[in-house]
């Protein structure tokens, strides 16, 4: 199976689209959600969420993947903003729920990689909760190295596989 850049683009596109279910079209969140969880600074995302935000390509909400360094579950700076926005969204929309899928690159043993994927998903989960999401809105699952986004045996493929994906349940 040769890796072509087409395949990677396809894979990435399908990942980005993965979270988009049918459009909710609900109007329950008309006003700015009053967020009493003052520990969260992320509630500044307190702009109104009407229902299409998840599908808006200009919004950070359309970013559904957080990437990680090798053998690490630390969330790097760039991705904190993405998580913050998702936290704000979840905080504002208590009816929404998301599954965080944790993954690892192929190096190392498979079961250990399932544990590593879980660590990554948990790290994102923790940060979401700290920033306003409710624990009941978040589920985690780890696929370890079993569902790679990029098929390949090089640094680029490995980088793309060390990830947590936001899969909104709609």
């Amino acid at each position: 199976m040769k890796i072509t850049s087409k395949l990677i683009i396809l894979a990435l596109s399908s990942l980005l689209l993965a979270g988009c279910g049918t459009t909710g079209g609900d109007a329950d969140g008309g006003g700015a959600a009053v967020d009493d969880r003052s520990t969260s600074s992320g509630a500044s995302g307190g702009a109104a969420y009407a229902g299409e935000e998840l599908n808006d390509p200009n919004s950070l909400l359309s970013k559904r993947v957080v990437y990680f360094d090798f053998d690490s579950d630390s969330i790097k700076g760039d991705f904190r903003d993405i998580i913050k926005v998702h936290a704000g969204y979840l905080a504002a929309k208590p009816g929404e729920s998301v599954v965080l899928e944790g993954h690892a690159d192929e190096r190392g043993t498979r079961e250990y990689n399932v544990a590593l994927g879980e660590r990554r998903a948990n790290a994102v989960r923790q940060m979401l909760i700290l920033q306003g999401a409710s624990a009941s809105q978040i589920q985690t699952v780890s696929y370890g190295e079993e569902k790679p986004a990029a098929l390949g045996h090089d640094e680029e493929a490995w980088r793309l596989n060390r990830r947590v994906e936001f899969v909104y349940q709609r």
Partner: protein
């Protein structure tokens, strides 16, 4: 004593195609000079009465040669180098064989006593001593001929090495392939040489960590079919299957206790991945590790008294060992691996003396073996993405997963590292091999 030397390089490609059956092509690579491998001549078996012009589906001598070569302990002569082709004892001239440098000679004959039924008679000679070591007469159906060849290899192997042969055993493994642009995962069983593959489970979701029960009747594995990992057990003969654990979080790395009554496994329901023992009859769960790191991939010692496992409690994954008694951990786990910054997924040899595991040095993931008594470690492979090592039930070989080109394939290496083989399955990415236990021994070796 005559010795034959093979200096490195590719041996011979065996590809017997059985019409209508999926098989693997087994490439035998002899990676070093097999000094010390016993030269043996396996003469193509003769055709006896009742066969007529019938074509037999299996060349028994060829299967036996391949089996013996695979073990790393024998160097079979290629057919063109055979000095004679006797089938009966009266045609055997051991003096001539001695001159040709072989230590052992195998001859045989097949006849048919009725349609679809055969009788195979073979004899094993010690060329140097000039005497017959054993002979057997084995009945077989047409479909059982290949299995019979493996039984013959087992008898020869045990007679010559004193160790039980593992040629009539099986392997289980996972194959991932793309079917109509969707991934499919299957749990497969094949003969130990890759032949006669059968799919016992087919799923659109990942399957992992297959492992044979000690009685060879069941396979435990991890399945993602419910959207998250669960541990399942399946009866090999019937295909009946059931979920064993489906706790929140991880359900993984199941390992059968030697008595078949419990599983060691990994759960993260209590906060992070830990090792537990699950009693199968009562479903009672016993926690074995308590540590903030990742603890996973438990492996039982053959006496059931110890568990080796992977732990990141020291920062990076290393192999640890803990004593267990009546499902309780005794004392603190002790670290076993100190070389390299990644050691994981241990498996005990059947005699309990060795551990095989994945050992990484500078980004290359290899199969290594650790002698428990001395702490000596040896790398057995020199590739980059090796994993999932599993011992043969006689401890002579280790099967593992590796990559060739872009595909996952299975490979095997003799425990001394001398002989390496690759299985080239016809499709998909093959991974996570598990070697079956011995089956029932149909013959006693005299």
């Amino acid at each position: 004593m005559g010795r034959l030397f093979y200096k490195g390089l590719v041996g011979f490609l065996l590809s017997l195609f059985l019409a209508g059956q999926v098989h693997a092509t087994l490439t035998i690579e002899i990676t070093e000079g097999i000094e010390g491998a016993m030269p043996v001549a396996v003469v193509p078996f003769g055709r006896g009465e009742g066969l007529g012009s019938e074509t037999l589906p299996v060349n028994i001598a060829r299967v036996v040669s391949a089996d013996l070569a695979r073990s790393g302990r024998f160097a079979p002569l290629s057919e063109k180098d055979l000095v004679a082709r006797p089938h009966e004892p009266q045609d055997v001239n051991l003096q001539n064989w001695r001159i040709s440098g072989v230590d052992t000679l195998v001859i045989g004959k097949i006849r048919s006593d009725r349609a679809g039924h055969y009788v195979i008679h073979f004899r094993l000679y010690d060329v140097f001593k000039g005497e017959k070591l054993t002979e057997h007469v084995i009945p077989s159906t047409r479909g059982g001929l290949r299995r019979t060849a493996h039984f013959i290899s087992d008898i020869i192997y045990e007679k010559l090495t004193g160790q039980r042969g593992a040629f009539a055993t099986h392997i289980a493994y996972i194959t991932a392939s793309k079917k109509r642009s969707k991934m499919r995962y299957s749990l497969n069983i094949a003969d130990a040489d890759g032949y006669n593959e059968q799919t016992v489970l087919d799923s659109p979701s990942p399957l992992m960590s297959p492992s044979w029960s000690p009685d060879g009747r069941r396979i435990v594995y991890v399945s993602f079919e419910h959207g998250r990992p669960t541990i399942n057990i399946q009866e090999v003969a019937t295909g009946d299957r059931g979920v064993i654990t489906r706790y929140n979080g991880l359900n993984g790395a199941p390992a059968w206790a030697p008595d078949g009554k419990s599983l060691a496994l990994t759960l993260s329901k209590d906060g992070n991945p830990e090792i537990y023992i699950l009693e199968l009859a009562s479903r009672k769960l016993h926690r074995i590790t308590r540590n903030g790191g990742i603890d996973t991939e438990p492996a039982w010692s053959p006496d059931g008294r110890k568990l080796a496992f992977t732990s990141s409690r020291g920062g990076k994954p290393q192999i640890y060992i803990v004593k267990v008694d009546r499902n309780k951990a005794i004392g603190q786990p002790q670290r076993l691996t100190f070389e390299g910054n990644y050691n994981a997924r241990a498996a005990f040899s059947p005699d309990g003396r060795l551990l095989t595991f994945v050992h990484a040095v500078r980004g290359a993931y290899r199969i290594a073996v650790l002698e428990l008594k001395t702490g000596n470690m040896q790398e057995l492979t020199d590739s980059y993405l090796d994993e999932s090592p599993s011992f043969a039930p006689n401890g002579s070989m280790i099967i593992y997963a590796t990559n060739v080109g872009d595909r996952g394939v299975l490979a095997a290496v003799s425990v001394d590292g001398r002989v390496r083989q690759r299985f080239a399955f016809q499709q998909g990415d093959v991974r996570e091999p598990s070697w079956s236990p011995f089956g029932k021994k149909p013959f006693s070796s005299k």
